[in-house]
């Protein structure tokens, strides 16, 4: 990912000690990093900490930024390191293999059948707050190695390539984690929305 020219110039000025350039450099990323921290953090206080630490660390390490990744990628990496340090080793269940999120073949009585129904109906009865609470709960069940690529791709709107760069993963691994996370999220939300087990057998 090539670094943009004006960004390159701002980085140069910032490295020389110009605070205005640094402020300009981070301007476009503040809201993004805050949104990301809110999604990853266990509570609001943690999210504010993660946000603040990210940019203070960026000040401390600006000389180490070499520009082989974009400035945004560099910031996300700092934020991710802070999140990892803060929450340490997690004790979450590994996701099921992708196969288990797919509709079952006839005669297979796996317990993890995706529930298929029209979501519009249950969703129309929920408030935004209720929906957000359910999403937060579903997200918090995802192990970080799925949570991160999923959020970077869909809420931070990075391209798959940018997600791969940020997390230092191959493109194939990135795609596969994003899909598994998406299927797992779909499955959790289905469970919350339906409240019952409706097993469906597909071809």
């Amino acid at each position: 990912m090539a670094i943009k020219t004006d960004e390159k110039e701002l980085v140069k000025q910032a490295k020389a000690g110009d605070f205005k350039s640094f402020t300009k450099l981070i301007e476009n990323y503040q809201q993004k990093i805050f949104g990301f921290a809110l999604k990853m953090a266990k509570n609001r206080e943690d999210a504010e900490d993660i946000f603040q630490e990210t940019f203070l660390k960026a000040v401390d390490n600006i000389q180490k930024f070499r520009g082989d990744a974009s400035f945004g990628t560099w910031l996300y990496r700092i934020a991710i390191n802070i999140i990892r340090a803060k929450y340490g080793r997690e004790n979450k269940k590994e996701l099921l293999p992708l196969e288990d999120y797919l509709p079952i073949k006839h005669g297979d009585h796996s317990a993890h059948v995706p529930q298929l129904f029209d979501w519009n109906d249950p969703l129309s009865k929920l408030t935004n707050d209720e929906i957000n609470t359910k999403i937060k709960a579903a997200l918090s069940e995802l192990p970080q190695k799925y949570q991160l690529p999923f959020l970077l791709r869909y809420t931070q709107e990075l391209s798959v390539q940018e997600v791969a760069d940020t997390l230092k993963l191959s493109l194939a691994a990135t795609k596969s984690r994003i899909l598994r996370a998406r299927m797992a999220m779909r499955s959790s939300l289905s469970g919350y929305l339906s409240g019952e087990d409706t097993n469906v057998t597909l071809s």
Binding site: K39, Q52, V59, D60, P103, P114, W119, N132
Partner: protein, 82 residues
């Protein structure tokens, strides 16, 4: 004969608009006759949409002000030392 499982495995690429045209045609044909796959695709789309919708929350001004101040102090400390 197209099976739902094979369809759904390739879905992510389809949803991201990153799929060979032949598969798109095959999928669209399958979808015409398969309500369950339609429900699956819609719920996968909505999963992402719902996560996107909940993201927006502005930085509170008061917090923002304190943050700018801390940032400036940190900057000063760093560059005054050099």
């Amino acid at each position: 004969m197209s099976h739902c499982r094979d369809m759904i495995k390739k879905l992510a690429d389809y949803l991201d608009g990153d799929l060979e045209p032949e598969f798109c045609t095959e999928l669209e044909k399958h979808l015409k006759g398969c309500n369950n796959c339609k429900l699956m695709i819609n719920s996968m789309k909505m999963t992402v949409q719902l996560c996107k919708d909940g993201t927006c929350e502005d930085l509170p001004q008061e917090f923002q002000d304190k943050f700018q101040q801390k940032l400036a102090e940190r900057w000063k400390k760093k560059f005054d030392r050099q």
